[in-house]
């Protein structure tokens, strides 16, 4: 293929393969959004919708922190508090992190692999609308009786005898609808990544974010049918007289826990792996260095996913389970630390001997590394089952899971937002506001959650709406509540930054970061067809090759000019 093609996408030289006979003007207005099958518009709808749910989940968290800021507080009724933590957990997992990853992947996977859309554009629209429907059904229960069984909805508490209202049913429909949405999306991602890559993009040249989305899709396909079955059994237990989880009729409450966590633990990796992918994209760009150990990182992603399917019962160490089961799941959980550690070391080694530019995305990426490490280390505490007997179901676990999910997912998502906002909107976010947001969030996060380890060690179980004023419980809780409002301020700074920059941000241009992957090859925001010409890919960093080629061309031209003179 001629080099000119690669250099200048805006002025394609080669003859177009399709000749347009009639050009329809691009539609605008709300109908263009409701009827769209464009992966970028769907991606934006995903991201905006899930961010709204993120803010709702955040408000729920702040209400809980307010309730806990005083011992024996009477601000919230127990039923309200239980509904709040159920909504918070469910929202953050099913309506924010997982679909936010789907949104980012929707927008960027086709761009990064040089495709013009997803493999099945209409299915893609379907997955978004299913997600929205799931969210609306779930939040509709707020006006009736929201569920109070926690995001894990353990049977028999979630059975009709103990949760007679429709809240649990709303939760079940949310799982079904968002699950269907994710399944349809996962099939779509898989088909797109396997079939629609740019020429030359072999398995060893796929961007690491795309690798993680591929694994994310496979994990969703493996894990979601199990939870779909589990909640269907719960639904028939509740309404059609079956007894799957009813010990009084030979059913088993532990069956629910096994089915739930067989989905629930892979779900953790479904949530954090795409975050790992974004970090693997962002660190090399800002360290101005290639990723250290591309193959090891890609392989570690696959190994984490595989092991992630084999460790679910480490959520159940305190249940009546045979000793050998405890040992198996302890050792399995240990094993997962190895590929995760490999990733961590590779990211740090990517920064080593680099020339690191601390733009906001890079700061969030570093924040991710610092926070996620703590979550990984406390994960080892919880994997040692005798230690877990003391720590499980306490605030230690709450702290651990927020270090993993805030670190592994939310900080990565914010890094992604700051990194890709210029591509999506064509405008830069304010660096000043971005850095202020990062530091506020970083400090707020650690003030909120570090102390929660101590809360758990001091004997405070999770999911309690009140606690007595004994020991240091109240002061620890007050520190945590104080931190949560700092964290919220940091998040609002980013919201403000986004709204402000939509109108008045500096114009970004196609490649403001001098990045490595193909999404930066096209205009910002990209046209509907993404690329007029798809370049041939010759490494993991096609944009670096293209820039080098342009430099060489310019040099050649400079050398030729004196000769002409």
């Amino acid at each position: 293929m001629a080099t000119e093609q690669i250099i200048a996408p805006s002025t394609p030289v080669a003859a177009p393969q399709i000749v347009a006979h009639k050009v329809q003007p691009e539609r605008t207005g709300w109908t263009s959004w409701v009827t769209t099958t464009d992966h970028k518009k769907i991606g934006i709808m995903y991201m905006v919708t899930t961010f709204v749910f993120f803010l709702l989940g955040g408000v729920e968290a702040l209400l809980m922190r307010l309730q806990l800021s005083q011992a024996d507080n009477t601000l919230l009724a127990p039923s309200t508090y239980n509904a709040l933590f159920t909504m918070h957990g469910t929202t953050m997992i099913f309506l924010f992190v997982v679909p936010m990853m789907a949104g980012l992947a929707n927008y960027f996977v086709p761009l990064m692999i040089g495709a013009r859309d997803m493999a099945f554009p209409k299915l893609n629209a379907l997955s978004f609308w299913l997600l929205l429907a799931g969210g609306l059904v779930f939040y509709g229960s707020v006006f009736f009786n929201p569920p109070e069984c926690g995001w894990t909805c353990y049977a028999p508490l979630s059975e009709a005898t103990y949760s007679p209202t429709g809240g649990v049913d709303a939760w079940i429909f949310l799982i079904h609808l968002t699950g269907l949405s994710s399944l349809v999306g996962a099939v779509n991602f898989y088909a797109t990544i396997v079939n629609m890559r740019a020429p030359g993009m072999g398995w060893g040249r796929i961007p690491l974010f795309v690798w993680t989305i591929l694994v994310y899709a496979v994990l969703l396909i493996l894990a979601l049918p199990v939870i779909a079955a589990a909640v269907t059994l719960l639904l028939t237990d509740r309404h059609f007289g079956t007894h799957f989880y009813d010990a009084t009729a030979g059913g088993s409450p532990l069956l629910w826990q096994h089915l739930f966590w067989f989905f629930g633990h892979p779900e953790v990796y479904i949530m954090v792996l795409p975050g790992f992918g974004m970090i693997s994209e962002i660190i090399p760009v800002f360290a101005r260095k290639p990723i250290f150990g591309y193959k090891a990182i890609a392989a570690a992603t696959v190994v984490i996913a595989f092991l992630g399917l084999l460790v679910w019962a480490h959520h159940m160490f305190s249940t009546p389970s045979p000793f050998i089961v405890l040992v198996f799941f302890m050792l399995g959980s240990f094993l997962i630390a190895v590929p995760t550690g490999v990733k961590m070391f590779n990211w740090i080694a990517t920064m080593w001997r680099g020339s690191i530019e601390f733009k906001t995305p890079m700061m969030f990426a570093c924040g991710f590394l610092a926070i996620f490490l703590v979550g990984g280390i406390t994960g080892i505490f919880l994997a040692v089952f005798p230690v877990d007997w003391q720590l499980t179901d306490t605030y230690f676990v709450v702290a651990h899971l927020h270090y993993v999910l805030m670190g592994g997912a939310v900080f990565a998502i914010f890094a992604g937002i700051y990194y890709w906002f210029p591509k999506i909107t064509g405008r830069m976010l304010s660096e000043g506001l971005g850095k202020a947001s990062f530091w506020t969030m970083f400090v707020g996060f650690n003030v909120t959650f570090l102390i929660q380890h101590s809360l758990g060690l001091d004997g405070m179980p999770r999911r309690v709406y009140e606690y007595p004023d004994v020991g240091n419980l109240q002061i620890y809780n007050q520190i945590s509540t104080f931190g949560s409002f700092i964290l919220a301020t940091g998040i609002l700074l980013t919201v403000y930054n986004v709204i402000r920059s939509l109108r008045s941000g500096a114009v970004a241009g196609p490649d403001p970061w001098k990045a490595n992957t193909l999404e930066w090859f096209t205009a910002s925001p990209p046209p509907v067809n993404n690329f007029d010409v798809v370049p041939r890919v010759r490494s993991v960093e096609p944009m670096k090759d293209i820039r080098a080629q342009i430099d060489r061309a310019a040099q050649d031209a400079a050398e030729r000019e004196p000769a002409l003179a």
Partner: protein, 438 residues
Amino acid sequence: MPSKELGAELRRSVDRLPQVVGSVRPNTSRPRRLALSLTAALVGLLVFAPGAFADFWKPESGGSPNADKISDLYVYVFIVGVIVFIGVEGALLWCIVKYRKRKNAVADQIHGNTNLEIGWTVGAALILVVLATITFVMLPGIRNPPNSSAAGLNLNSVQYAVGPGSGKQPPNGRSLNIAVNGQQYVWRFTYPDGDTNALNNVFAYEQMVVPTNTTVTLNIRAQDVAHSWWIPKLGGKFDAVPGYTNHTWFKISKPGIYTGQCAELCGRNHANMIAAVRAVTPAQYRLWYVLQRKQIQASSAAVAKLRPGIGTPKSQADPTLAPVPGNGSPHAAAPAAAAPAVAAIDAKALFVNGKGQATACGSCHVLAAAGTKGVVGPNLNKFIAKDDTVAAIKDMIVHPNAEIAKGYAAGIMPAAYATTLTSAEIDALAAYIFKNTR
């Protein structure tokens, strides 16, 4: 003590921390260095300040050897964790500071280093091998209950009867085996009394009284939703799940009250489902036990006296329960032998309400016709086969351990119905159950 050595080593490395960090960061400004050493000092102070802040960084302990050993194991994991934390966060900080963009700095275009990558993969795996080894070494002390001490409760007492479905026992096979039952939102403790009828035992709610220096083993069950038994100073959590029996143990040497609460979400009042273990000397325990039994008998008698007055069916009061014979109501004093003929027995009422010491069938069994929903025993609508005759059902009532339903343990159902009910009553019950399980 290895833990002390490790602790000292950790303390030394924390002391060194400001110098280590300072040495790799030659360009650190004064305020930043000050902040770092202050942080290190603060962390050191909080972590190693004895006593007041113990719960700040490690689990509670000091009640029972298993809790102490879990705490020790936690400390070893903590030490490894701190070393990894300092190493990795240190490397991260070092890279952030050392390799921030400077004028004319060019990034090295390194794609990887196979030896290095194999090295840290193996390194990470080795750390985990060490942790697994430590865990397996510590496990027996955490899982296996020891024998009671000489100062504990008398080993030959009937109190040591090990109840049905018990878990691990001490080497000499003797422990005070208490059944813990989680219910929304209270804990019930049933003490062993040597017979297989679990319904005439001494029981208590919320506070479990136990003798010191005595190994106490627990059979943990739930009767409605899942709960979790947790007294932090006496070891970890053990979920109480309907249909299952979970086990743990503790052995307290210091008298006192050890508090905890349910740790598995069990409904709106989960936060107030508290639990406490009060450890007293064996002598005090014996006294408490006798008093508790008397109190239960007295209140049962009082209820038996009230029953006829509040409209329950006749013949419900059991004379064997009355502590002082002859002072009850005419109903309570009626001898069992004078029971009316079969025709006059209300079998459904007997099934639902029981009679005196004969616990109601319905409190443990489902029977649709009686509308009962007990979960302790098998569902009679399913368990009673079509070919079971009235005589077979009668045999099941009188000899409950002859045939055990799949998934249920022997010895749960009272084996004393032959004495607590008249044969006429048993006939009526068997006929009633037969009729309603067709």
